[in-house]
């Protein structure tokens, strides 16, 4: 008898909320020995929000994976806790320097963003009752993605550039990062496009050293994606996102066609592209230089400063960490966005950081499990692409701030301060849960099947 496992989800949610509340209280004790003032307000809001999401899932996706929501809620909650901790450093007699970029209202805003994120999560589950509904909008979403990506490049710097990255749309006090949403739209577009074209793309051309090369005329799409990601790199100076999109495309084309040659072509293009970019653009070459010699004296100190601060912070935390509120993460510039993982490493230690990485890993694993379980090729590709791009994003940003790979500024899903990333991450979880719900749904009886297939009106 298949079960929806919604009770498991609730239990895990209660656990996640408890961890978040304890962490929040711990920040207050760590900073000034008192319970933080917002414990009740923020705590109840957060608990209420995730409970509402859980109730919605009971109705909208009763068969969905029971771990995805609690895992995402845990990360979101811990992100709020860390932003509160960073916001409070140096304020009201707490130890530390005031982080000028973090307003005293940052935590409140992050809670509001979480509410919006969970609303989007529920809305997507409500609107998209079957993954294949999305397939109809393949090209529409592709076009939307392109427009979203192009806007910051076309806008003047005053309306699109923050700290050198030209990836924003800024209107007055309101700003969004369109690429976070373009990422999701592109995943849908790639999945729809590749499902339609995969037979053609899988056609073999010549065979070289045991590898079936595709026909030259079929190289079009991959070259297009490559060029598009290079354009993002050049016009928006955003290496991370460009690598993310290209990686997602290559992996999805590989899954769709099962041809290793596409993977090799993609990797070759990537290596060539990054080498050329390193040579052509000084800021890219500098990233390589900082990565190879973060502590080298010849590096102008301000260039490697952020990375070095992050690394020294993590080293300072050691294995068990300094404890929330006891570390000095405020020394790392902009620690609340790209480098928030190093703040976790410093205060929760190696133990806490590994736990966080495992939570991310579990989300990816549950997503891939849904992809394997679902029969519909579109849903399969979509879930695989989304799971992989999440894994790649974690790899790029965590690897970047810990010195494993050259640093490229992208957000850490769920943890980094900012609404766009958080809302897009919740949307991603919604899509994965929708696929998972489809995959785990018990096959209906043949007679009932006739009736069930009529569900079209939601589209």
């Amino acid at each position: 008898m298949p079960r929806g496992r919604r009770r498991t989800e609730l239990l895990m949610l209660v656990f996640a909320v408890a961890v978040v509340l304890l962490a929040y209280a711990s920040v207050g004790f760590g900073l000034n020995g008192k319970l933080p003032p917002g414990l009740l307000a923020y705590g109840l809001t957060f608990a209420g929000l995730v409970l509402a999401a859980h109730l919605a899932v009971r109705r909208l996706a009763p068969w969905a994976d029971p771990l995805l929501l609690p895992l995402a809620a845990l990360l979101n909650g811990l992100g709020i806790v860390m932003i509160y901790r960073l916001q409070e450093s140096g304020r009201g007699g707490n130890p530390g320097n005031v982080i000028s970029t973090l307003a005293p209202t940052a935590t409140a805003y992050q809670v509001v963003y979480s509410a919006v994120g969970l609303a989007v999560f529920v809305a997507l589950l409500a609107v998209i009752r079957q993954p294949r509904v999305l397939q109809r909008y393949t090209y529409t979403l592709g076009a939307i993605a392109l427009v979203l990506l192009a806007i910051p490049a076309l806008l003047p710097a005053s309306m699109s550039s923050v700290n050198g990255a030209k990836v924003w749309i800024i209107i007055g006090r309101f700003s969004i990062q369109p690429e976070e949403f373009a990422k999701l739209a592109l995943a849908v577009f790639f999945a729809g496009y590749l499902v339609a074209k995969r037979d053609v793309l899988a056609l073999a051309g010549r065979r070289v050293i045991g590898i079936d090369l595709p026909r030259a005329r079929d190289l079009g799409p991959v070259l297009l994606a490559w060029a598009a990601s290079l354009l993002i790199l050049i016009f928006e100076t955003d290496i991370g996102t460009s690598a993310l999109f290209f990686g997602m495309f290559v992996v999805m084309i590989y899954i769709a066609t099962q041809r290793t040659s596409w993977l090799l072509i993609g990797i070759l293009l990537f290596v060539f592209g990054s080498y050329a970019a390193g040579k052509l653009f000084t800021h890219v070459g500098e990233r390589f230089n900082i990565w190879l010699h973060p502590f080298a004296g010849q590096n102008p100190s301000h260039n490697a400063y952020q990375l070095v601060q992050g690394l020294e912070g993590m080293g300072f935390g050691g294995i068990l960490g300094s404890g929330l509120g006891h570390g000095q993460p405020y020394f790392t510039p902009l620690v609340q966005s790209d480098f928030i993982v190093t703040a976790f490493g410093e205060e929760l230690g190696l133990a806490g950081l590994m736990a966080l990485l495992l939570v991310f890993g579990l989300i990816v694993q549950r997503g891939l499990r849904a992809a394997i379980g679902v029969t519909d090729p579109f849903a399969k590709l979509l879930a695989a692409g989304l799971s992989f791009v999440l894994a790649l994003q974690i790899f790029v940003i965590v690897g970047g701030v810990t010195g494993l790979i050259p640093l490229t500024g992208i957000t850490t899903p769920f943890l980094s301060q900012g609404g766009s990333s958080l809302i897009a991450s919740w949307a991603l979880i919604a899509l994965l849960m929708r696929v998972s719900d489809t995959a785990r749904q018990p096959t209906p009886q043949p007679i009932q099947d006739e009736g069930m297939t009529q569900v079209v009106r939601t589209g």
């Binding site: 993590m314 399969k380 695989a384």
Partner: protein, 487 residues
């Protein structure tokens, strides 16, 4: 498509494994390396957020403590009697530490492994982290007397006092010295300027002469030469006579060894005790040749020389007795000249070993370490460093050293009057110095008191001080008087 999906899953697994391995590398293996990076602002900042442990002398005299800077949450180091204790405490600055501040740094800062449990308890009980207090063997009375004796006359030199029965260091003074309070500034620029100035000063105030400068021991080395002669049965007892000519033409050399002021030594064949309290160079030059270079080298080592590994816990520069076989060099080194080099600490160790019946105790500065909750995390246990001579030979030397001070003809008879009621034993030294002995003589004195049941052994070296009996011995008397409470 599932086969490709499985491969992609493996790729995701690989990415997460790489991340996990890398954060392990950064936070577990590289952690201390990162902490040691120059300009690590966290490590730099942390030291002022916690109260560093105090350094305490004589059980209750705080000679270094951290005080809260008014109106801030930062602490600053303070040395109440800075210059007096500078050779002991060293300093703790924002860029580095010396002395006990460095040697016991992990205890004082609270990061020593022995304090882990304590820190963990503090973490749970919400108490702020605090360093452990280091209690020293230093006696404030002896230390003050030693410092004043040097400073009042402006002598360049050092005094070290030991408890012969335990090896506890009672005083360790060096002059000229510095005020460690100037190193506690939180301004890097100011610190750099101060440090450069002190380093450039000709009088070398930063040099801890007690353990990091070496001088020729001069005649005080005759303690070792006599010990070797008794131990190797070249001389039977203190009344055995030894040849002591007025002039001694060194074999294989044009140099002629003479006694002080070119005097004759008694009748030219005195008992060894008389040659010792008169400090005849010819007698001990000949005796040195008789016992041989290798034997002298061996016994010098037993008395603590030629030991590059000595820590008190500050690292001690080795005192050197070179291994010689040429008779002329052996004769010179037997009277503490040629290439013999000793620290003032070594001088004190000569007397301490004899006073303690031939057992040389390991010199040490730290009596105990107390965690902030006053539990003892470290307690000094007196250990034997070496047993250079038997109790019987030590008895002979005690007799001879007592004669140096008590016999009216002894070289240090003059100081005997200054210490009423306490019998002192010692040996003077007046070491020739500089290229071709052009420098002023260094005054050297090593002694212990009282002669029965010795409580203190003192070594004094005054650079360019002239006669040991005239310059160095009175300093030792002041320290002994202060320590034993004699007015």
């Amino acid at each position: 498509m599932n086969r490709a999906l499985m491969r992609v899953s493996l790729a995701c697994l690989a990415m997460f494994l790489l991340l996990l391995v890398n954060v392990n590398y950064v936070q577990a293996f590289e952690s201390s390396g990162l902490a040691g990076k120059p300009g690590n602002v966290r490590v730099f900042n942390q030291q002022f957020q916690y109260q560093r442990g105090a350094i305490v002398a004589g059980g209750d005299t705080k000679i270094a403590e951290s005080r809260l800077i008014k109106g801030t949450s930062s602490y600053r180091r303070f040395y109440p009697d800075g210059p007096v204790y500078a050779p002991v405490t060293g300093y703790d600055s924002i860029y580095g530490a010396t002395g006990i501040e460095a040697a016991e740094g992990s205890e004082l800062s609270g990061s020593a492994p022995g304090l882990d449990v304590h820190n963990l308890i503090s973490l749970f009980t919400g108490k702020p982290k605090q360093g452990a207090s280091v209690y020293l063997t230093i006696s404030p009375k002896a230390q003050q007397a030693a410092y004043q004796a040097l400073a009042s006359k402006g002598y360049v030199g050092s005094v070290v006092a030991l408890d012969p029965s335990t090896g506890a260091i009672l005083a360790m003074a060096s002059y000229p010295t510095f005020n460690p309070n100037v190193y506690t500034t939180l301004s890097g620029v100011a610190l750099d300027r101060i440090d450069k100035r002190l380093r450039a000063e000709k009088s070398q105030p930063l040099l801890n002469r007690a353990i990091n400068a070496t001088y020729p021991p001069g005649s005080t080395f005759k303690i070792v030469t006599s010990s070797t002669a008794f131990s190797t049965q070249k001389v039977a007892n203190t009344s055995s006579t030894i040849p002591a000519p007025t002039n001694f033409q060194l074999p294989g050399s044009s140099k002629v060894l003479i006694n002080d002021n070119n005097e004759a030594c008694a009748d030219g064949n005195p008992p060894i005790i008389e040659a010792f309290y008169l400090s005849c160079n010819t007698a001990f030059g000949k005796l040195g040749i008789a016992v041989g270079g290798p034997a002298l080298h061996r016994y010098a080592g037993r008395f603590g020389m030629n030991n590059p590994g000595l820590r008190i816990p500050l690292p001690v520069s080795p005192s050197v007795f070179p291994l010689e076989t040429d008779p002329d060099f052996v004769a010179l080194s037997a009277i503490g000249q040629f290439n013999d080099q000793v620290t003032p600490l070594q001088e004190a160790m000569f007397a301490a070993a004899i006073a303690n019946g031939g057992k040389l105790m390991t010199p040490h500065l730290v009596q105990q370490v107390l965690a902030p909750d006053l539990t003892v995390t470290q307690q000094a246990q007196p250990t034997v460093l070496a047993t250079p001579v038997t109790p019987q030979v030590a008895g002979n030397l005690q007799q001879m050293m007592t004669a140096v001070v008590q016999n009216p003809a002894g070289t240090a008879y003059d100081v005997n009057k200054s210490v009423a009621g306490v019998e002192i034993a010692g040996k003077t030294g007046t070491a020739q110095n500089g290229v071709n002995n052009t420098g002023l003589n260094d005054a050297v004195f090593t002694c212990y008191a009282p002669t029965t049941n010795p409580k203190i052994a003192v070594g004094v070296i005054v650079q360019g001080g002239g006669y040991g009996a005239a310059t160095a011995a009175p300093i030792a008397m002041q320290v002994i008087r202060a320590y034993l409470g004699i007015r």
